[in-house]
Amino acid sequence: MAQLSIEELNEKALSIRRSIITMLHEAGSGHSAGPLGLTDAYTALYFKVLKHHPQHPEWPDRDRVIVSNGHTCPVLYATLAESGYFAKQELSTLRKLNSRLQGHPHRNISIGIENTAGPLGQGLSTASGIALSFRRDQLPQQVYCFMGDGEQQEGQNWEAYMFAAKYSLGNLTVLIDRNHIQIDGFTEEVMPINSLKDKLESFNWHVQEIDGHNIAGIVAALEHAQSIFHQPSVIILNTIPGKGVDFMENKVEWHGKPPNDVDAIEALKNLKSVDEYE
């Protein structure tokens, strides 16, 4: 898996984006823009960097992925299915009765979901607890935490930023989806977050700010973060919400709604596989 080329990774990302559109369309509710914007980061992490065994999801030595921005779970589910944790057909059960794929993720390690998330601002504390526990037990596992940019407005995150820095959690890497949108509008209008990089550096975190759609660059940033031993790391991913679907890109209105029949067809046309293009 770790041997995949950048081209192959880009194909994975395209496949994940198609799954996201299909599952949201079938669910009839959910968030579109965030999952599409995060797809390249999930692809880089799950198919190039993360130590995990989809066939043995409870493998104790696995790295941990904690999702704080639970509303982006279609990208988590699509990535887990793409990785082989469960069959892709199950994606069509999203948000439906008796599904393992809840509208916001519910912890179920047997299919790779490490934590329950939905109320924003909670994931980093959990990830920090896991990371400190691993460090104290001298275990080598890495802990990753996906966060949104809007949720930086939650106070609990700043409690956790202080905490992770105090305990020098070098085994913790946060990926922030800096897409500038949240439900009520643009982040800098709703409640300004800038300059996030300066804020986090002043909290004694190691900060990288990168293009969130360059898979090779994301892989390099994740690998660099692992080489920082005495500080927690954050990677600010500058992303385009709705990335890959031209009419969703950078549109606030696509933050919290799914594609309808027409939208879905248009979106899937946008997301032809590389082969189909050629």
Partner: protein
């Protein structure tokens, strides 16, 4: 209870000693605190097991979340602060990160109730049982004295699911002994009685016992049931008391809504076998209290033995 000269103790002391014992027995026990390590009595644990103690600073939401993280790695986490802040400030994190994940975390809410005294109403948590008992997967334990708090801590250390342990700084006489049985969800009959049953929890169990003694001088036979577990409630003990008594009174150091009185009411309203039963709830009556000593506040807010005696007498008229 006969030996009133016995040294007094608090449930927070019992927690502190219990945690050290639990940690000695189980190397996976960890303790986390939000800048109140000594006054929650986690400091004995912290001194003995510094590598298993985590200081999170004044940050109760993070306290609950970090505890959830430790629990996800197989640890048994105890996270303590004052109940007014934890679960007071951390409820949403407890709900989603701990309860929905169904993790083995014990939330320890110290300085609960009027016994918090001079600090005043800001610090006297009187709503914590209500907001904890409504959470799925949650166990709620309110021990009555130091020894019971020690045993409760040891019992909760074995639990694989979330729990709330309510402690207090208020000191009471020893009510239970090393030999008193303690089982989560199983009420303890402290005194047998035929006419009246007082069902109490926490540091006002002492007041119930004093009242029962006084009433026995008037030839009124009063039993005292220590309902240390609010959830899961010992329903059969409640129904037995309701069957055998003419008067049933609950007493708790908590708001009248959502605590012991509420859960017992729910059982009686649905299943009471005794239509002639007189039932009363003694609790803080939907108000904030104020500064004062614990005893003064019990008196002013209606939870002292004197008030209990008066309530029983009124019910028997």
């Amino acid at each position: 209870m006969s030996d009133k000269k016995e040294a007094k103790g608090s449930t927070r002391d019992g927690f502190g000693h219990g945690l050290v014992e639990a940690a000695e027995k189980n190397t996976e026990v960890v303790g986390l605190c939000a800048d109140l390590t000594e006054s929650t009595k986690m400091h004995w644990f912290a001194e003995q097991f510094p590598q298993r103690y985590v200081q999170v600073g004044v940050a109760e939401q993070n306290l609950a979340g970090v505890a959830a993280g430790f629990a996800m790695t197989g640890k048994k986490a105890f996270c303590a602060s004052y109940a007014a802040f934890h679960p007071g400030n951390s409820w949403g994190v407890i709900r989603t990160s701990i309860c929905y994940n169904n993790l083995p975390v014990v939330i320890v809410g110290g300085h609960s109730g009027l016994g918090t005294g001079p600090d005043g109403a800001t610090h006297q948590a009187l709503e914590d049982v209500a907001i904890m008992q409504v959470l799925p997967n949650m166990t709620v334990v309110v021990p009555c004295d130091e020894e019971e708090a020690r045993k409760a801590t040891l019992a909760l250390a074995e639990l694989k699911t979330p729990a709330y342990l309510r402690t207090s700084k208020h000191t009471v006489s020893a009510i239970t002994t090393r030999d008193t049985p303690f089982q989560i969800g199983k009420a303890v009959e402290l005194k047998k009685g035929s006419e009246v049953t007082l069902i109490a929890c926490g540091d006002v169990v002492e007041q119930a016992l004093i009242a029962a003694e006084e009433l026995s001088q008037q030839d009124i036979s009063v039993g005292v049931l220590n309902m240390h577990t609010i959830k899961p409630l010992d329903v059969s003990a409640v129904l037995k008391a309701a069957t055998e008594s003419k008067v049933l009174i609950t007493i708790e150091n908590h708001q009248v809504f959502g605590g012991l009185g509420t859960v017992v009411s729910e059982v009686l309203a649905q299943y009471s076998p005794n239509p002639g039963l007189r039932f009363r709830v003694m609790a803080v009556q939907d108000t904030f209290a104020e500064s004062g000593s614990g005893e003064e506040l019990f008196e002013k807010f209606g939870l002292s033995a004197k008030h209990i005696v008066r309530m029983v007498e009124g019910c028997l008229k």
